[in-house]
């Protein structure tokens, strides 16, 4: 028997090793479909862009739309709100990154970098508190808008200003701004 020959133990070991390694590769490739099936499916990916008609929105009004299962705040700000937001010293902010998907990742959290248009009238943000995922108040007229006139998260008391930047409370980051653009005067595409 060759495998009992002390001169040739390596060949036998090689076969066992090869078999084991091959079986392990097989097991690993079976695992992938089982993991991947939990990723967003084709319907979820296909719906990842939405178009919103904003022609009816007056200054000072806001709407909330659903995008990828999350609320997106669209606010047409008043002159006063814009003034309030642009007066702030960026260095004094808890988070001085713009958090704007449309800009480079290191952009400063200035009001121009937060709004969608040149006039600073339009603000489009993911309405999910960056602390633990609740939806901040402030979209409806009767809502508490927090100490800075923007949004206030009722879960743990985070205050956001009129540009959606975190000012006070446990949240560490400004509200995220998703990929968004005007495709014409009346329609914003998100995603």
């Amino acid at each position: 028997m060759s495998d009992k020959d002390p001169k040739q133990p390596s060949r036998r070991d090689f076969i066992f090793l090869a078999t084991g390694a091959f079986a392990a590769v097989g097991a690993a490739s079976i695992a992938w479909p089982i993991v991947d099936q939990m990723n967003p499916d084709a319907t979820a990916l296909a719906l990842s862009k939405i178009e919103v008609d904003i022609s009816q929105l007056e200054r000072g009004q806001a709407i909330t739309v659903k995008w990828r299962g999350k609320p997106v705040f669209i606010r047409r700000r008043t002159e006063e709100e814009i003034q309030m937001a642009s007066r702030v010293d960026i260095d004094s902010l808890p988070d001085n990154n713009a958090r704007n998907y449309n800009l480079s990742p290191d952009s400063a959290a200035s009001d121009e970098n937060r709004s969608l248009d040149e006039n600073g009238e339009w603000l489009v943000m993911v309405g999910v508190c960056t602390h633990l995922g609740c939806v901040p108040k402030g979209q409806s007229l009767g809502d508490s808008k927090g100490d800075f006139g923007g949004w206030y998260c009722p879960c743990h008391g985070s205050h956001y200003d009129t540009a959606g930047r975190i000012r006070k409370g446990p949240a560490a980051k400004n509200l995220d701004i998703p990929a968004a653009e005007f495709i014409n005067q009346n329609v914003i595409r998100i995603g």
């Binding site: 079986a23 992938w32 479909p33 089982i34 099936q37 939990m38 499916d41 084709a42 319907t43």
Partner: protein, 419 residues
Amino acid sequence: MSKESTYIPKSGFSKWFDQRLPLPRMLHDNINAFPTPRNLNYWYTFGGILTFCLVTQIVTGIVLAMHYTADAGLAFASVEHIMRNVNYGWLIRYIHAVGASMFFLAVYVHIFRGLYYGSYKAPREILWILGVVIYLLMVITAFMGYVLPWGQMSFWGATVITNLFSVIPVVGTTITEWLWGGFAVDNATLKRFFSLHYLMPFMIFGVVILHIWSLHVTGNNNPVGVSVKEKQDTVPFAPYYTVKDAFSLVCFLILFAWFIFFNPNILGHTDNYIMADPLVTPAHIVPEWYLLPFYAILRAIPSKLGGVLVMGAAIAILFILPWLDTSKVRSATFRPLYKQFYWIFVVNCIALGYLGSQNPEGLFLVASRICTAYYFIHFLLVLPILGLVEKPKPIPESITKAVLEKMEIRNMKEKSAEA
């Protein structure tokens, strides 16, 4: 068989662990070092294959349940959603659907192997009965699973089978309506079937553990049917049987993969790709192939109550099989007459399967009745009488003797072939 543990903890930690929870010891004694007869052939690898099938069905089933919707209005669409939109959903669903057939294919080989080698005889009666319990649970689970896609066959299969309970005198209708949660198979039925279909595999898993426990108390039967007498009759399970089981499993997987990737729908029924319609019954209602023999038995009996009872008896009779076979010899190898009746019984079961797929009319009906009768004759007459009249062939003294004898014959043949 030695019951002493051969586990030696190697490190300080394993010693510490072993004194508190001897799980590694149990695994070592029951898997690595478990003394197994040295003469088991490939028919004995199906136990391992079945364990693999059960785990595969549970894993793919849990995954499917993440995407499936148990609602009469949405179930069919959610299955199509899995097939079209979920990442690898088509693969996972086909594994699960083909897997059910493969599971039954393997369990039938396993059962018929037990019948051939007399694995149900003393001291393995409980082992056998637990096996029949597993089979019964498998049948119920598979039936409920088939309802879930909510196609035409799902719906009408569920209707026909649940209606069997209406034969129970007096309370029959009450029981069927209780099963349905309504006055017909409907949303409530689908939801409870889904819940139970999810539960039962774990019950099967529990009974499988008892089945293996019982196996490890009595030890394996083997092709010559002679009990293990000395140490050299056995080899440790690892590596001898781990590698043999693994090889056999991979061969089985080749067949499995063939159906998943190149023929995934042939074992199912085309009508199940039509959404359930309570107003239209398909032209032929047939169960999946693995239940056809019982369906043939059901329809062979002219009375409704009789059909249900006889079909139930066809499974129930397996529970008392260990006491119906009067022969002391286990393996069919040494039972010349039993061997022949065994093969007739196999053909008879296949014939019942074929007849189950045909309309019960004319010659088919006559044939179903003959085959049904023979099914019971085999258990109730042939087996008890054979044990009394049959003269067995000389039985080897031990497993080792049988193995060496076989080797000698093989060597002699090789030599004469060379000459």
